[in-house]
Symmetry: C2
Subunit: 349 residues, 2 copies
């Protein structure tokens, strides 16, 4: 009954006093322990409400040896391309999902010049788990992390020896196949592609998908140029493709940003899209929506991917079973950069 003026936040002890129970009981109620009588529970809940009690995270964390914090690790180079809509959506998905849990989101920019700093921070007991998103890269330099800290990656690992980590990825191969099949379906007879860096899983997988369909169709799979996923790289790759002198009427580009760059080069060279060349991009982001013409694209469920990463990690942290690998489906969105199916021609051969 200590009559105190408490300017700061009320403590568990004060709630206990107000409810006429011990601190232990209050703690039990706060932590949903089943071993509390309804009366005690009601009294405590009431006191909590009246006093506006909010548990002190630091104290709780110190005593329980859990932080209730999840780190979202963003490699610095990724941070520079933070404006990548796909990436932003993933972060959004993570944040939204976590806001429904007891976990707090701690965004960490991983300094590339001083990776130890990040490692120490993550391993220093500051967080309960980590989410690593490395944009388009397959950067699993934090792979070893997962042996010491529950970790879920966005995107599959590049090297097979990291296959034991948890990750969530889009079905890049299937997406690329769908894109390529669409080009075939609308009557394209000579296909080219602008692929991503081959040391990054999305770059690699999307090329695999394109190639697989092109070969199955008995077509030449040599019209390949690479780019680093930026609009500029897309433009340059398109120029190189054109310079080869081999005509093509269907182009699959590994992401929308490069597709936009390629689009402008094609037009600049007097080629009409989709009349002369049909283009399919990948991501289904704002770049594809606002380009002229709007891009037909393979949409990734970016927000859902982020939310799934968060869910998997939370499951892991709470001892629930979780899938090591989750593959998210993609879907084809047909817009103006691919022409209408040329039924007769296709039927003719």
């Amino acid at each position: 009954m200590t009559q105190e003026l408490t300017p700061g936040a009320p403590t568990l002890e004060q709630v206990a006093a107000a409810a006429g129970v011990s601190r232990s009981t209050v703690s039990r109620v706060v932590n949903n322990s089943p071993h509390v009588t309804d009366e005690a529970m009601t009294a405590v809940l009431d006191a909590i409400e009246r006093l506006g009690y909010v548990p002190n995270r630091a104290a709780r964390s110190l005593a329980s040896r859990k932080t209730q914090v999840i780190a979202l690790v963003v490699p610095e180079t990724t941070a520079k391309v933070f404006a990548d809509p796909f990436f932003a959506s993933v972060v959004q998905g993570v944040a939204l999902h976590l806001s429904d849990t007891e976990y707090t989101l701690n965004m960490v920019i991983a300094s590339e010049t001083n990776p130890q700093k990040t490692r120490r921070y993550l391993l220093g007991g500051n967080v309960d788990g980590a989410l690593v998103v490395s944009h388009h890269s397959g950067d699993h330099s934090y792979a070893r992390l997962s042996h010491a800290l529950p970790t879920v990656f966005g995107g599959r690992p590049m090297s097979p020896d990291e296959q034991d980590s948890y990750y969530v990825d889009s079905d890049n191969v299937a997406g690329a196949e769908a894109a390529t099949r669409h080009l075939l379906d609308i009557g394209c007879r000579s296909l080219a592609t602008i692929a991503g860096p081959q040391d990054m899983p999305p770059g690699f997988d999307r090329l695999v998908g394109w190639r697989s369909v092109v070969r199955s169709a008995g077509l030449d799979d040599g019209l390949v140029e690479l780019g680093d996923f930026t609009p500029r790289a897309g433009a340059e790759a398109a120029r190189r493709l054109l310079d080869r002198g081999v005509p093509f009427d269907g182009l699959f580009v590994a992401n929308d940003q490069m597709a936009v760059g390629a689009l402008s080069v094609l037009r600049e060279q007097g080629l009409s899209v989709p009349h002369d060349v049909s283009i399919v991009g990948f991501d289904g982001d704002s770049f594809s929506e606002t380009s002229n013409p709007p891009l037909t694209s393979i949409a990734q469920q970016a927000t859902e991917l982020g939310a799934t990463m968060a869910r998997v990690l939370v499951d892991l942290l709470q001892g629930r079973p979780a899938d090591r690998v989750t593959i998210m489906p993609t879907r084809l969105i047909v817009r103006g950069s691919t022409r209408e199916p040329q039924g007769t021609e296709t039927a003719a051969d």
Copy 2:
């Protein structure tokens, strides 16, 4: 020299033992207290290095009554437009700046259906301060927050009674004026604008800037249509502008996303950009870079704005003097959507 197998993280006490000093001394070293002899300091630093000691945040926070956590509050509706490159850059700036400080970034999605939840969290002693970014809106529903928690806003408040809060904003009026002057400079004689919502400071201020220059030039300032900053709204506004039947040769659009939408409508109606109509956007983001033609735009220093918000808050938290208001300059980036100056014509009048 206590030979212990410590599976968990080493504690300050262990460092003290290893260095042959008291815990206080270790604490002083860790907290950069000047009252430590060089020898003691060296011994401690050495022990810390050897043991790989990392201070426990929870314990530190509990004892010091500081969390070293800064919340980045993102209203839910903003989260939906998370892919806005401007917004993403601001977040990036915040994160980058904070990674150089002792503060940790806690991203909070403010539920709009349950604002109390966020309030309680922020006021519950979980964070030392808050950064509120509400995208293009002037949403200072958290204004009252600043009386109880150090808070810095991104963007100026809409209502004058909130003028006592700390905020960082771009110079929207000056930016809009520069954009409009540029249109005049290249010889435009009839100006129109697609403005943003007038209940949002950026929407309001940019219209003010446009109007001020148009009037000074003795031109009609009636060609105004509003949009909500999305590409679609830009397209619709452009259509309404055209429907008025009043010809214009210069168009200022309050942001790049709307400008891209307007651009496509203009072309669709057979108007050539920049030959028939010159367009200037605002933001200088990826939308302006990858559109066709690329947009002349007023670039905001989004990353710097975010970094500045973080810096101001940290100053505030550390008792250093900080400016209540910081206005960031903008700059004109001339690209393909505005035509070359028509020197003779301009000189003629």
